[in-house]
């Protein structure tokens, strides 16, 4: 397709230019001005919420670990502020008109931090490893399901051959799972799947210390000279090194920052934000994540949510704005669709179309036959209480979603007499409940950079997390068309139709809020940024210490 070729050429030509002007186009956080001019030295300590279960990017599964991945590893592509793919370790790509063959050219003079050169053989080794049975089953089964073969045409050219058109393959190439690990590490690392200091990449930092349960330490990769166009500078990182400490409790993180024991923290809950804004030496910044919005999905395969009226009634029973305000103060961004409002695929028309109409909720429930109430004020039908169960897996609860669930629980009880039972359980019990179909509400948000990837899993009849059990050929068709459509405008149109279908028409879910990340930092720290499009804290590459 000529359009694609043109874009590639333009991207390749613009790369160096972009790198220079990126400071304006990517909108560096205001913290930069307060700290003065970028300087090259010093070390920082950053308290993060989550200790990654693995340091191997191929095994990546925690959005909260993304900021760590890009310190040591890099992908072939990345997203810019507008959600467009731009080159990183690749200089560009072309695709054949049938959408079945992608050819990528690779950047020259890039080396892994152990000295191994980065070339097409390395890319092939990485992708082949990902498809090896038992290594990364989720990546092989989802992201690479349409990949037929990888060819190293010459040292600087890689060709990906697909069995079906799949624009999401580019999203894979920009994802942490598509990050490049040195082939030497792939062969020799002691615990490859767990990662560690012996699993190396091409990134601006080198991991040199990992104390489980406590911290990670990275030192600058002095030879680094291949920053993506989205960064605000080129050459090696500003910092000599950076330590990430794992502080699970938000109160402890905030306490560590306000008592000057760390310089940056991420994950600042709403109630603690006044502590940050009340301190003149601290600064708070916030960005919406990409992917799907945090929503309650209704299990349509069993009563009562097999009835459209009950799904609509549940949605109307929740005054989402009030609930969000009570839990998150004024810091949460309400979601109206299954897709996060920060995504280019978001359908704005859904805003204000539903929700918060108590009278409507009650009349819908009356119509559906749940007219009488028991002593506790819950609706009953044929002696059975209108109970719906939400099962939350404790290890994956973030943003105080357990608290939000309690607020929704109180709201649906007060306004419509619905009994929402919330249980916070371990992962095995949760998966078991899903397997046995013993739940009515499923909560989820996904941080995929391309929202289409999330929707494939959540809404396709054969999706890996289709917990609504929706099986609708129209929805499947739209999803498949969206995955094959290369033209952005056409693609946005397809996903708009899809959102109308699942949110407005079928009321398959109650969108609650758009997940966001927060960084609170000392004003002495410059270059505090979020990763473009993904909306999660960026790597330490652009960070520096002022004064």
């Amino acid at each position: 397709m000529p359009a694609n070729r043109l874009r590639t050429l333009a991207a390749a030509a613009l790369a160096p230019l972009l790198a220079v002007v990126a400071g304006c186009s990517t909108g560096a956080a205001p913290a930069a001005e307060a700290a003065g001019q970028p300087r090259s030295d010093g070390t920082l300590t950053w308290a993060v919420e989550t200790e990654p279960v693995t340091l191997n990017p191929h095994q990546y599964a925690q959005a909260k670990a993304r900021l760590l991945v890009w310190n040591t590893f890099e992908s072939l592509l990345t997203y810019d502020q507008q959600g467009k793919l731009v080159p990183w370790l690749a200089t560009g790509w072309t695709v054949t008109p049938d959408g079945l063959s992608y050819t990528l050219t690779l950047r020259d003079r890039v080396t892994f931090s152990d000295g191994t050169p980065f070339d097409s053989a390395a890319v092939k080794a990485n992708i082949d490893k990902l498809r090896e049975p038992g290594y990364a089953p989720a990546v092989a089964a989802v992201q690479l399901r349409n990949l037929k073969a990888v060819e190293a045409a010459d040292p600087r050219t890689v060709r990906l051959l697909l069995s079906a058109p799949d624009v999401l393959i580019l999203d894979f190439l920009a994802s942490p799972q598509g990050a490049q690990i040195a082939p030497t590490s792939l062969k020799q690392a002691k615990n490859l799947k767990a990662g560690g200091i012996d699993v190396v990449g091409t990134g601006p930092f080198v991991l040199d210390r990992y104390v489980p349960g406590q911290e990670l330490h990275y030192r600058r990769n002095a030879r680094y000279d291949w920053a993506p166009p989205t960064a605000t500078h080129t050459g090696p990182a500003h910092l000599d090194g950076i330590t990430y400490r794992f502080l699970k409790e938000s109160a402890v993180r905030v306490g560590a920052l306000t008592s000057r024991q760390v310089q940056l923290i991420e994950g600042v809950p709403a109630t603690d934000q006044p502590l940050i804004s009340g301190d003149r030496t601290l600064r708070l910044s916030r960005e919406l994540n990409s992917g799907s919005a945090y929503s309650y999905y209704f299990n349509t395969s069993r009563a009562p949510f097999d009835d459209l009226r009950i799904r609509q009634a549940f949605r109307e029973a929740v005054d989402v704005d009030t609930v969000l305000k009570s839990v998150y103060r004024d810091t949460a961004t309400r979601a109206w669709s299954v897709i996060s409002p920060s995504s280019p695929l978001y359908d704005k028309r859904l805003e204000d179309r539903y929700s918060g109409d108590t009278a409507k909720a009650n009349s819908l429930l009356d119509q559906a036959g749940w007219a009488s109430r028991d002593n506790d004020g819950y609706r009953v039908k044929a002696g059975k209480r209108l109970t719906v169960r939400l099962v939350q897996s404790a290890p994956f609860v973030r943003d105080r979603r357990d608290v939000l669930a309690q607020a929704v629980q109180a709201a649906v009880k007060q306004s419509a007499g619905i009994d929402l039972k919330v249980s916070l359980v371990d992962q095995g019990t949760a998966t078991d409940a899903f397997q046995r179909n013993e739940y009515e509400v499923f909560d989820n948000s996904r941080a995929d950079t391309d929202a289409g990837a999330a929707l494939n899993l959540l809404l396709h009849s054969k999706g890996g997390i289709n917990r609504t059990h929706v099986d609708d050929p129209r929805i499947d068709q739209l999803l498949e068309a969206g995955q094959a459509a290369a033209d952005p405008t056409k693609r946005a149109g397809i996903y708009a139709d899809l959102q109308q279908q699942v949110v407005a028409e079928q009321a398959l879910l109650l969108p609650l809020y758009a997940p966001a990340d927060q960084i609170a930092a000392s004003t002495g720290v410059g270059g505090v940024r979020f990763e473009p499009t993904a909306g999660v804290p960026a790597s330490a590459y652009d960070l520096w210490i002022g004064k």
């Binding site: 109630t271 305000k325 608290v403 607020a407 109180a410 019990t429």
Partner: protein, 296 residues
Amino acid sequence: MTVTVGPPLTETPTRVLADPSEPAVRRRSRPRPGLLAAEVYLILLVVAAVWPAALTPGDPLAADPLAVLSPPGPGHWFGTDHLGRDVLTRVVHGAGHSLTIGVAATALAVVGGVLLGLLAGLTHRVADEALSRTFDALSAFPMLLLALLFITIAGPGTASLIVAIGIATLPHHARVVRGQTLVVRGSGYVEQAITFGQSRPRLVLRHVLPNVVGPVPVLAVIGLGEAILAAAGLSFLGMGPQPPSPEWGAMLSEGRNYLQVAWWISILPGLAVTATVVSLTVVGRHWQARFDGRWR
């Protein structure tokens, strides 16, 4: 001799240990404000558990989004939590959870402990050995680990907590009773009774049991305090009654994220736990002193 708990075993020691600063005989007649306060608190606690609405008419689950995190003051004497629920109402309603778990777990431990302990102390050596090894194996897990394991299987919740804490504290009671039984069994009057040809069940009921269960009520009161502490700890780790239940440990756990902005959400339920355990211990000690005096 028959009433003291015996030498501390390698087990959770009782907190009884008759407070030596209050020799029972010397001070019994003097008014004791501490004891009175403890008794009043326990009575209030029982009222709160049985009929919470008598103390606080509100709904412990009623959220008021407009009054989130209000500090203690008129209207909300213990303030409100992160969902705008009244903390005092929740603390009062929480008494039911804590007492239920504590009483049921203690009952399980005491009844099971007495039965198994008697059995071990009276039966054949092989059975005794098997039972004793089982107690050992159970005690080989620190209580918290045992409870965690149990909750892994049964899932978190009130029933799980009861059984977990009951099982974890059972070996202690069983050992005490077994020890007592052996002492009683070896004592002169049982031998005498045997010589006089008394039947076995009669022997157990008439002579062994009364002498063995002497310390049990006191142990139970103190054990109740321990069970409530343990329940609070496990709930704190998220293993107890699920939200929005107003369980004290769970409230403390939920509230700790707001410690810097709203200390009352976590500290006040925590103090309720402390006050309960202190009161139980004070009353338990008092009873023990009285029993000691009577039996001496």
